[in-house]
């Protein structure tokens, strides 16, 4: 057996073991990135091979926790891709105005930067009071941090620039107080936000939404799992509901390509049409 094939086998066994022991299902995550993260664990846990990592992870729940943290990539930013938020403002907000009540699902929200960005936008457009945002992630730790709403001060300059490019109507600094722990964001931004743990792989739909925003999450999944999640989203959207993906994710080539029309193709904003 070639070493590459042996390695594949070891990864398969590790993921199968993790699934059966702890219920976390990473079996259909994209392998390239997964492989890098697993080797990082092998190195940091000072074990000799993926097989040895498997032994430790199966016997030691803390080693498992470290593995889960390693596998969930939480990089995010406020108003990441400002032109996307600008398109939300100009092309999606008018649609949302026609609804008496708006439900948004931010799936894979990580530490919440997206949620706060969205809340600011909806406040400024006068829609926030009739909105409820469900912000979910597989990782409980990031959800706690999202709820705390304290972000590094050194990021504020970049976020301010993003906010302006995204069509922000106020001074960005009005939204937070600088302190020794960082920039603490105003609590009213999450007044209508429900943070909850939800696993896109194994958990079910829990409501009907006007908007589902899931950016840079499905890039970590293989195609079959992506299609599974698209199915979940499709069933969770109302007719003419809006689905938004990351800057380099397209609805094209997925199982649900024909169910959506582009509202803004470049910004990956789609409308469910069937």
């Amino acid at each position: 057996m070639r070493t590459e094939d042996l390695e594949q086998l070891e990864i398969d066994l590790l993921l199968e073991g993790v699934y059966r022991r702890y219920g976390y299902d990473f079996r259909q995550y994209a392998r390239g990135s997964l492989r890098r993260r697993i080797y990082k664990r092998v190195l940091d846990e000072r074990v000799a091979s993926i097989s040895s990592l498997q032994e430790r992870v199966l016997r030691d729940p803390q080693a498992m926790e470290r593995l889960v943290l390693e596998l969930s990539i939480n990089v995010t930013a406020m108003f990441r891709d400002p032109t996307f938020y600008l398109a939300l403002r100009t092309k999606v907000v008018p649609l949302l105005r026609t609804y008496p009540f708006i439900r948004v699902w931010n799936a894979g929200c990580s530490t919440g930067e997206e949620v706060y960005s969205l809340a600011m936008l909806l406040q400024e457009e006068g829609l926030y009071d009739r909105t409820r945002i469900y912000a979910t992630d597989i990782n409980e730790r990031v959800l706690q941090r999202a709820e705390e709403g304290v972000f590094p001060l050194d990021k504020m300059r970049g976020y301010t620039e993003n906010y302006i490019k995204a069509g922000g109507r106020k001074a960005f600094s009005e939204y937070y107080k600088a302190g020794p722990r960082g920039a603490t964001f105003k609590r009213d931004l999450i007044e209508n936000v429900v943070f909850a743990q939800h696993n896109l792989v194994s958990d079910r739909s829990f409501n009907e939404f006007n908007v589902i925003m899931c950016r840079n999450v499905m890039i970590y999944f293989d195609k079959a799992l992506q299609n599974h999640v698209h199915d979940l989203f499709h069933r969770s959207l109302i007719n003419f509901g809006v689905l938004t993906l990351g800057r380099k994710e397209s609805i094209k080539f997925t199982s649900h390509e024909n169910c959506y029309e582009a509202i803004d193709g470049l910004e990956r904003i789609y409308k469910k049409v069937k």
Binding site: G32, R36, I73, V75, I219, K248, K252
Partner: protein, 197 residues
């Protein structure tokens, strides 16, 4: 002779001009897909592919997640993501920067080597840092064909020099030689073991 099925190219400072020189000599029907990781600004404009396109007969586009790798196409790693080869597909990731870079050449090369082994060609061009050296080492280890731009002919020599410090490549070439050499390696007519048809 190996049948090559993928070319990966890594470059940084000065890469834009060097890529244009290479693309300029590639025929429009170049059958092997090419993936390029050129370091670019995090929030940089996505206009890189349009400005490179004017020098290339092969269509160039930014990578989309889970896009299939097809011959007759050049794929550019988008800014602020790592581009990862997953068998016949390309995948993206936003994990932390590697060697100060996202896209990271190491990440692209290592993943390409893991999927393509001895059917991979990897090329390191000009740049002012050490990204790519480790990736090239992995390509070589798994039997891939390695090319490093001659540091003397590079706009910035640090990156090819770092690669040469880690790997003895199959070829060290000037920028003018690289394009024609790729054509030679990838055209099925040339290079039969004994030269007979």
């Amino acid at each position: 002779m190996a049948n090559y099925s993928l070319v990966v190219i890594g470059c940084s400072w000065g890469g834009f001009h060097s890529l244009r020189e290479i693309f300029n000599v590639l025929p429009g029907d170049f059958a092997v897909p090419i993936v390029v990781a050129q370091h670019r600004l995090a929030q940089g404009p996505d206009g890189l592919h349009t400005s490179l396109q004017s020098a290339s007969r092969i269509p160039i586009a930014d990578v989309m997640d889970k896009e299939p790798l097809l011959g007759g196409a050049i794929y550019l790693a988008p800014s602020d993501y790592h581009t990862i080869v997953e068998g016949k597909y390309l995948a993206l990731s936003t994990e932390e920067v590697v060697q100060f870079a996202r896209p990271s050449i190491d990440v692209l090369f290592e993943s390409a080597a893991n999927s393509y082994g001895n059917t991979l060609i990897a090329v390191i061009l000009t740049g002012a840092n050490e990204d790519g050296a480790e990736g090239l080492r992995r390509v070589k280890e798994l039997g891939g064909y390695t090319i490093v731009q001659d540091p003397k002919s590079a706009i910035r020599r640090e990156m090819p020099e770092a690669a040469l410090a880690k790997v003895r490549p199959d070829r060290v070439l000037t920028i003018e030689q690289i394009g024609p050499h790729l054509v030679e390696l990838c055209s099925s007519k040339v290079g039969g073991d004994d030269g007979r048809p």
